[in-house]
Assembly symmetry: C2
Homo-oligomer: 207 residues x 2
Amino acid sequence: MTSLGEGEFALLDQSWHDAITPDAARRMLIAAAQAFADKGYHATTTRDIAARAGMSPAAVYIHYRSKEDLLFQISKVGHERSLKVLTAVQDPNPKDRMARTVAAFARWHAEFRTTARVVQYELGSLSPEHHAVVVELRRKIETHMRHIVEEGVRTEVFEAPDHKGAALAVLSLCIDVARWYRPDGKRTPEEIGNLYADLVLRMLTKP
Amino acid sequence: MTSLGEGEFALLDQSWHDAITPDAARRMLIAAAQAFADKGYHATTTRDIAARAGMSPAAVYIHYRSKEDLLFQISKVGHERSLKVLTAVQDPNPKDRMARTVAAFARWHAEFRTTARVVQYELGSLSPEHHAVVVELRRKIETHMRHIVEEGVRTEVFEAPDHKGAALAVLSLCIDVARWYRPDGKRTPEEIGNLYADLVLRMLTKP
DNA sequence: GGGCATACTAAGCGGTTGCTTAGGTTCTAA
DNA sequence: TTAGAACCTAAGCAACCGCTTAGTATGCCC
């Protein structure tokens, strides 16, 4: 329901710069992402997207096949980004690895809340073929988190009766940041990441 | 995308029995709740709701002013139910109180996933007036959880540098159950409640 | 300058949307 | 037996949807 405009656009424009060209196509995609995050995919019209991008309704179809294609591009690249953020951390210490991973993943869901909301809440609107592509990326995310939990349990620093359930809960906690985070709130994305890293370590660490 | 039909309908019908009469109005509301939970408010048509309830499209408007009115009834009663579940637990021991509250709240979000999804993910589709009503109920939910955290911190069984942040994280964890829970999964709502109660106590308890 | 690809707009088409209207059926009670 | 309330349907209206078509402006190579 809220939009920050200038500052948020600049952040997203930079974020999508290497993935989407030319400029007009990227502007259209960012406009779509903001509209989808704000009102939801089905409540957003192609005229709405075009207006946000400062172009005519027909301009959408020069760069994209359909409204659903626009959603798929955002969802696919968004999922790839969040997977990259999750897997980027490498640390020999299981506790440090978990803490840094959770901090980065939770932070991403706050900082790139616009993209994250589309990634997490609009998968049901994808076509069956596109849905399958995205589900595969989500499977990788779950597997990776489960491995971090299991590494900690194996080295006896973590304690979890249900590895998969614990991994799911950790991911769930981070993902839900995209739902409640507001850019005008008093916690910065970095602070949220640190708070969550601390909470998760408490949750998992063997006493 | 999945629907269980018979069994789920019976559960919801019983759940809404005292709040919505007559029968036809309740059938319509349950049909709407299932459709909204399944596909989202904006992707659901009034013809779709009527068909699920086994009636003609015009029948919707005998019992409800508009499609948005249907959403408001579900959202309002749903919020009241989840607040009641949260506040029902009374226990002199802060740890037991938190454990039982989290277990009940998380369990509710699994068991009544259909209602919970509408409650948690469709607030943005309410009219400004109806949105305000629901936001007030949400404020009460947050306040209540913060008080439970603060009671534990005061009696020195919990440890949390940021009371409000911790309460938000606990609620967030429970709420997100509505997103990932599947009735055909291997964990029962009760098991999820117990798992989550354990995780939250570990998160908050002073070592 | 001429030929041509790229990027865009104005206008609008067929289909769907939320909702209304006019009318019919069933039930209760005097 | 009949008046009237409650409940439901068939048909359809105005507005809006995603998307297409026909045509225009701009830049680039020869």
